[in-house]
Amino acid sequence: MNSQTGKVARPDIALRPADEVMRLDRMGASFPTRLSFMRSLLRRMHSENWRFARTLVDLDAQGFGTVVLTAHTPKRAYSLVVFSHDLPPEMRTDRVIAEAWDATFSLFDGIPTAADIARLAANTPKQEAGRFTPSELALGRANRSLRLFAHVTERLAAGKQPDAATVADVGYLMRTTAVYGSGKFGCGDRAMIADRAELRGAFQVEMLAVYLFRWFTIDLIEHLARRQGAAKATRLSGPLRRYLGVGNATGLGMAPFLGRHPQLVHAWVTARETALARVRALPVATTETIAAFRMHLQRARQHAREWQVDDPLQTRRIARLSDDLADLEAEVARHGLRGDRPWDALWQHGMKHHDTEAQELLLSLLLEPHGALVDDLAETMHVTEKLTLDAAMPLTTLRALIDRSHGWAQALPLDGPQADARFWYYSEDKLEPRLGHRHAEPGGMLEMPLAFARDLRALCRDIDLAITRGSATGITATFLMTHPQHRHTVRRVQSLAGLDYAEVRDNLVAEGVRPIDLLRFKLAFFGASKFDPKSDLWTRITLFQGAPQPDELADADPDGWTFAVRPANGA
């Protein structure tokens, strides 16, 4: 152990098993942690003293026009080029198939020239129908919140602050409906920027784009208030500026990503689970960490009280979460986090007495006071991905490998029409990812390869037959010559052996599968909060809620914004 940080390189508390962590019901209870990608980005911005500039502001009285916001890192600059549009209300939709938006934006690598801006003006508003170059690193769009935008504008124009409860009810002025990165529509590929320290981490490009866009939303509404209220207009108060995040509507597109990037998922979960194990292995709790934990716990309780959703299931879960957090606070008061391994004792209490949501929130709370112990793990959350095939592997070895590494898949119930009732696909409608009913809709033959458990069972059956029949050489290469339909699954099995957190350990095509669980899992790694499920297929969330704005980042605590709570009226 390092005496300065208490860091245990390999904690003697085992990481939680994948059979527990990678099940949909637990993944669907995930919370952001200090290892989440937004948190890493804010820490880097702060520690490297990034500067931010309004490179261009050209908005008319209605707030339509062009804005360029630039982040200056120690070595490079990145600019968000935003186009603000007039959008008729009937064209406002969160769906991928939308054709127009209130705002569209590109994250530009550097500072754009007038010619660059003109080129982007002809393409960014078209989104998927536009063409982009490697200079653009991300592409996105957003719509105003009709519930909040007008209220805030009117209040600021009248020289008043918006009503805090109304602000809290929504949490954002604008909501992104897609943020594309890594090579989409001609944008720069991740491989081209992966050696840049500031963008090496997962989704740092997209997070930076959203962070700058959040700044734009505040600038836009203050611009409109000034135009409407002239000298009477006022600016948003500091607490409200921080409290307002960026909304996001997330649908099925997140799910295939998890299937396509199993090695990355393994890295993310391993980092989080290692962090938890390190904290649980600490022999004692210091006065400072206890105080910090209590502060975060109280804030999380308030955050949960303010977490209002329409979804009946999530409403019940939040109510139970509030009860569990009250019990957690009582437990801390009872035992004072004294004795041997106090954090582990608290964890065990949560595992014994609390529901899944509270358990996963406790994980997040346990990490909060222990930045020096766990923050280095954020650097392990990106990998160079490659799935390889071992063609020389004997079939008997392959079969044993499946039993050893993927027994979980074979244990799932896979018989009957309900076991493969659903299928995931790309629609011809702007490639919108959708989930179909296999036995009632066409297109099942074109499904994405997300039915891993089902495919593995078919593979095992054919391997067993080949072994029984004494296949010519009994190796993977010859087996795949006659069974090419298994090539994808074999490569996956061989490449992911030993990467316990790589696969979702559930049947993703079963009747009753809830894609929302996959979305929340991934969004929590982003750092999203206020999950607001709108159905089993999509959710709204808030990004960067509570985070310091660019103009206050230098003097702010880059980690002091988790579990944002609503400011008091007049704050």
């Binding site: 009937e90 406002r92 939709t93 969160d94 769906r95 198939i97 170059t133 490697p134 919140s145 009709l146 519930r147 929504v170 909501r175 090579g183 989409k184 529509f185 001609g186 944008c187 590929d189 491989a191 081209m192 909304g247 509507a249 649908g251 099925l252 095939l389 071992d390 063609a391 020389a392 696909y425 790309y426 629609s427 011809e428 409608d429 490639l431 919108e432 990812p433 959708r434 989930l435 179909g436 809709e441 066409p442 297109g443 074109l446 010519a472 190796i475 993977t476 290469a477 010859t478 795949l480 010559m481 090419p484 339909q485 298994h486 090539r487 994808h488 490569r491 159905s535 297929l537 999509w538």
Partner: protein
Amino acid sequence: MTRLHLSWGELHFQVCRAAFGTGLPWGLAEDTAHTAAWLARYGIDPAPQLARLLGNIADGSSATALRLMQRDDISTLHADDQRPLSALVAGPSAADWWDILADRPAAQLKILRGDAPGWVAATIAQRHEIADPNAVRQIVDSPTGDLLISDRFWTTTATDGHEMPEVVTVAADDWRVVRDFFRRSLVPSTDASRHAGAGAGLVDRD
């Protein structure tokens, strides 16, 4: 000839799904995308061959079932019938088998009557991380024929340090054909799937 610039992500996504759209299994579709990327990396436009090879599978003019024969140090891959053997199927199998033969100096691998020997060679090179585009370039335009792979096939010095181009450049006409196959991997939209398949409403008032 009109040329298009693609990102590497676009190349991989669309080629993989174009191959899947012609009926190839996912695993072979993934290998098709890897080979296309290997060719592009070394400045060889994959689109013309790809358009032809996908068409060969779609219209049934190339065989997708193969057989392996072994005699002494010579292994032979050939089609299961009289048609030329599809390179999109033969390539991955040849690369697999070269895994097993590669450390035997006298070993030879023959691929008989393939519909694109250059594509098969590129698939082997990609899989074994052989940075020798010249060996492939010499045969890449051979429309059909036999291919003999031995340790002497790879003749030039590895081009270590070769930088990946920032974008992929493809012939527009050929890429249009690939895109047509890509569209075959998409599920036609229905009123039901448009309204309920992705969850969110079509108009929102949030």
